[in-house]
Symmetry: C2
Subunit: 162 residues, 2 copies
């Protein structure tokens, strides 16, 4: 067994990379816990960030991930897409572990959050008015940055949110 | 509340789309359960398929996902990347729920699996010889195909494996 500690000391370069991966993400892989079985389930969601820098999405009650989040409001997000020509394993990516909080139409803060989200993701206007769509904000609890082979960092919320 | 059943009846077109999404995938978002906390964690892994059509990856004992899989050998995989110009929410993608099985260097079947994997993913030769790398095969238990807005299908292993 090779003995190597793959975790590097977090520096400003790692923090800046994590922040740009998150702020540039228009979608993410969302990991949730399947109701009843507790098994992991990964789906794709649109993504933006709140004014505080936390990830946020707009999802439908009809989706499997919405039902899972409502049953157990914990989530992981993976952002940082390799694109078509990049090497997926050397391209940097960021894993977040989060607690989900929901904001529905008519609830406090919905109007402001919707205006902010739609300013970043104008195509979501198609769905935002549907009564079964709501915002899920993912409050970051921890992060793991993989900057490519043997470049891994553990991050705190402050590392990512500034 | 709008009443719509988003699940369509599975047909051959859906089966063919799911199979091509999986066989074309060179990487995936992998969802596992974090040891101790049980919280979901999503990371990126390289991906190929076994001769039987199940997803397989080559991972290091040092990685967080390997440690999670060894503690609880269940996983979800998301494949079907939108590329740089596609709309991530209309681009088709496939969510799998799987049980993980491990094949280490020196174990039965390792030589054949390694030869098959390296024929599909020749760059993995860089890592395949390291003693801390092993194969994780993901035996498909269920699938969920999202072919774009309002085109969702529940799939069995037979739908995907043929």
């Amino acid at each position: 067994m090779t003995k190597r500690d793959p975790i590097q000391t977090t520096d400003d370069e790692a923090r800046a990379l994590a922040r740009s991966l998150l702020s540039d993400a228009t979608f993410a892989a969302l990991g949730v816990l399947t109701p009843d079985t507790g098994l992991p389930m990964v789906t794709r969601v649109a993504l933006a960030t709140t004014r505080d820098g936390h990830p946020v999405t707009l999802i439908s009650d009809l989706s499997a991930h919405a039902q899972a989040l409502k049953a157990t409001p914990v989530a992981s997000l993976l952002v940082g897409e390799p694109g078509e020509r990049g090497d997926p394993l050397t391209h940097p990516r960021l894993t977040l572990q989060c607690r989900a909080r929901f904001t529905r139409n008519g609830e406090p803060g919905h109007t402001e959050l919707a205006a902010h989200y739609l300013s970043l993701r104008p195509k979501a206007k198609l769905y935002a008015g549907f009564q079964d769509f709501f915002f899920a904000t993912f409050e970051i609890e921890s992060g793991h940055l993989n900057g490519g082979f043997a470049r891994a960092y553990k991050l705190t919320p402050a590392d990512i949110l500034g």
